[in-house]
Amino acid sequence: MAFTLAFHIILVPLGVSWSVMTLIANYRGIKHQDADAMLLAQRWSKYMAVTFAVGAVTGTVLSFEFGLLWPKFMGQWGAAFGVPFAFEGIFFFTEAVFISIYIFGWRRLKPWAHFWTGVPIAVAGIFGSISVVAANAWMNSPQGVTLDKSGKVIDVDPMGVIFNDAMPLMAAHMVVAAYLVGGFMVASVYAVGMLKGRTDHYHRMGFIIAFTVAAIATPVQMAVGDTLARWVYDNQPTKFAAIEMVPKTSDDVPEVLLGHLNSEGEVTGGIPIPGLASILSDPSDGTSTVVQGLDETPAADRPTNHEVNVTHLAWDVMVGVGTLLFLLTLWWWAAWIFRRSMPGSKWFLRAAAASGVLGVVAMEAGWTVSEVGRQPWIVYEKMKVEDAATANTGIWITFIGVVILYLGLGVTTILVMRQMSRRFRGGQSGEVDVPYGPSEPIEAGDEKVPL
């Protein structure tokens, strides 16, 4: 399950943020009569359709898996957990239909009218991700349900479920992450192209639009993440102790970079920075802020040492990579401010080429923090993982099968996109058959054309 989600989540940033980048290019194309920008928008819209279709396939599998892997979880909590998903449905449909309209509209609508048909895609993307994250946030902060004595859900307050306390910050963090990761992913492709010598106006523009989106999102993400960390400090002290790897409650807690808990539960290795964890948890009190340790929670109700290590490492990765990406965006802004053009160095492009993968790594690490840090709870303080999982055997076989299939799917996506870009570059018309697009008439004797 975690694997499928982790795969699905890679497509999510593209689904959410690519539409915005496309609209920026489209806007520029109309406003400045820039034919290259228009072409960029046209092509991006078609790649978007492909990622959306793959997202739909993986999403379909997820909707099976909830039941196949956690029937008891769904049986018990479906009535609450499902509510945000019902709303998500609206946004999926909207997104799917408008992607279609946008692609159809290229040669059938006047430019500005066409531009506006793209806006709902971007809006639906944002609300779609907010809805799903609301479901996940509800697992961190399960509100809006009334239970009877036997623990059965007898009443649900949909507003309470959707707008649970964890939702606003988690949703904001996820949406910004989508723009960050999506921007870096697209930019990194163009960075590779530029390193190969394709530095014409078209490629530069593709890079600049995407990287700017990411460069705006990154600092925002740091700020939101910082606030979110403080929310966790206040509301999920055990998870926070796992994140910061704090075995015993105290003040003046050091921030340990890397390192791990040994079998005795003591911090070993790593680089401690004195007092920093306390300062970050509540800057106004400085090093005197008390951080609750793992020992305050009974062993059965807190993550195991191993899980603490995973959480802590994932945390270091998320924040570490986030910081690196932040430095990269500083470079970018500095170049624009002082030289009025993008950084020219090859090293900048190399770093940018790596940023796409780094962004994904940070995002996956963030989910690991959120999910593993919550262990052993699946629904915080209401249900444990062991009570939720299925009793079925043979899950491992399914799991291996799913991994292989997904690798296949990943390769397909990339292959299909490369194929499209080859055709685009091969000088053929911009019209290729894409999911949700109008199809071209078959010409007599036409060999089957690749997508």
Binding site: D36, F104, K448
Partner: protein, 354 residues
């Protein structure tokens, strides 16, 4: 409110049966189109019909699952717990199908193409079979309520499930053939119109035959369903048969849209007949709609969401339809620039790979 939610659920199942079914059915015709040379032309039409909606129809399936687990969580838990095997197979089939359809287009060697094509086509048959078997298991009362797992194999390897599976494959092929006739006509390929017309008739005959055999199977194996079908749901069964015959009649008379509509009607009333026959059980004789229903708050939220979706999406679909019919405006929407910088780069490298 519980009833409304169940009706929405059945409506969603029907929609998936029609659109998803037609998709899977197209895969079936791909499978039986024959060798690479002989089947090439039919596969071309099939490709053309599927490519624009590639895997989008599963959105309906997602909608079914979300409705089921939100509004009737106990039913969802029982179904997935008992029918673990066919549902896993279906999920794998869906991924395999989507991926290999795209792969087939992306590779060039005939042999590769044939392998991916086969994977695509076989999973197109596997998935509807599994769904049919799942429905058979539910309808014959083999899924116990209360989150207890039923028989892992017996629940879906039994006469009613086999019937359900085979019927689902037939129905998918039947629908697809009708749709493909129209697609071929749009492509002005008269040979293919005739080709798929013959297949539509064949599939109709097969579906009819399976349905007839089904009567005996159900009488012995799924008493509750059989009683429902022969009493409450009888008008719908008859309607389905009438639509089916009408579809055949219209097909041979070569009308434009009528045949397709009638075929859709036949399938829709068949699904509806199943629903009415087992009403008001979600899992016959063990879990009723009202017993499985989620609390009122949830139901209200879901129905509001469904209503909103309808309000937002119907106009969007109308817009899409209008666009589809509209002629091109090349000069106004900036066609590709003649001297695109890309044209100068002729060697093939990896540009956007997402």
């Amino acid at each position: 409110m519980d009833t409304t939610a169940a009706l929405v659920l059945f409506a969603a199942i029907t929609t998936y049966a029609i659109f998803g079914g037609a998709d899977f059915g197209a895969g079936f015709w791909d499978l039986v189109a024959g060798g690479t040379k002989r089947g090439g032309r039919a596969r071309n039409v099939i490709d053309h019909a599927i490519a624009p909606v590639w895997e989008a129809n599963h959105v309906w399936l997602i909608f079914v699952w979300v409705l089921l687990w939100t509004c009737f969580p106990e039913a969802y838990a029982s179904i997935t717990l008992t029918l673990f095997v066919p549902l896993t197979l279906a999920a794998l089939g869906i991924v395999l199908r989507g991926a290999s359809f795209a792969f087939r287009k992306a590779v060039f060697r005939t042999r590769d193409r044939r392998n991916f094509g086969a994977a695509f086509a076989i999973s197109s048959v596997l998935v509807p079979y599994c769904f049919g078997a799942v429905i058979g298991a539910i309808a014959s009362g083999r899924v116990p309520a209360g989150g207890k797992a039923g028989a892992p194999w017996g629940s879906w390897v039994n006469p009613t499930s086999v019937l359900g599976g085979v019927l689902a494959v037939c129905v998918a092929a039947y629908l697809a053939a009708f749709f493909l006739v129209s697609d071929a006509r749009r492509l002005s390929d008269e040979t293919m119109v005739a080709y798929f017309r013959r297949r539509a008739i064949g599939a109709a005959a097969a579906a009819g035959l399976v349905a007839l055999v089904g009567i005996f199977v159900l009488a012995n194996d799924a008493k509750y369903l059989f009683d429902g079908l022969t009493s409450r749901a009888l008008p719908l069964v008859i309607l389905s048969a009438v639509c089916g015959l009408a579809a055949l009649g219209l097909l041979t008379r070569r009308t434009r849209h009528g045949a397709r509509l009638a075929a859709v009607g036949a399938v829709a009333s068949l699904v509806a007949a199943w629903g009415v026959a087992q009403w008001d059980y979600l899992l016959p004789e063990s879990l009723t709609v009202s017993a499985a229903a989620a609390p009122t708050g949830t139901m209200t939220a879901v129905l509001v969401a469904t209503g909103l979706a309808a309000v937002l999406i119907v106009p969007a679909f109308v817009l899409l339809y209008v666009l589809d019919q509209k002629t091109l405006l090349p000069e106004e929407s900036m066609p590709e620039p003649a001297h695109s910088p890309l044209e100068q780069v002729s060697h093939v490298t990896d540009e956007p790979a997402g």
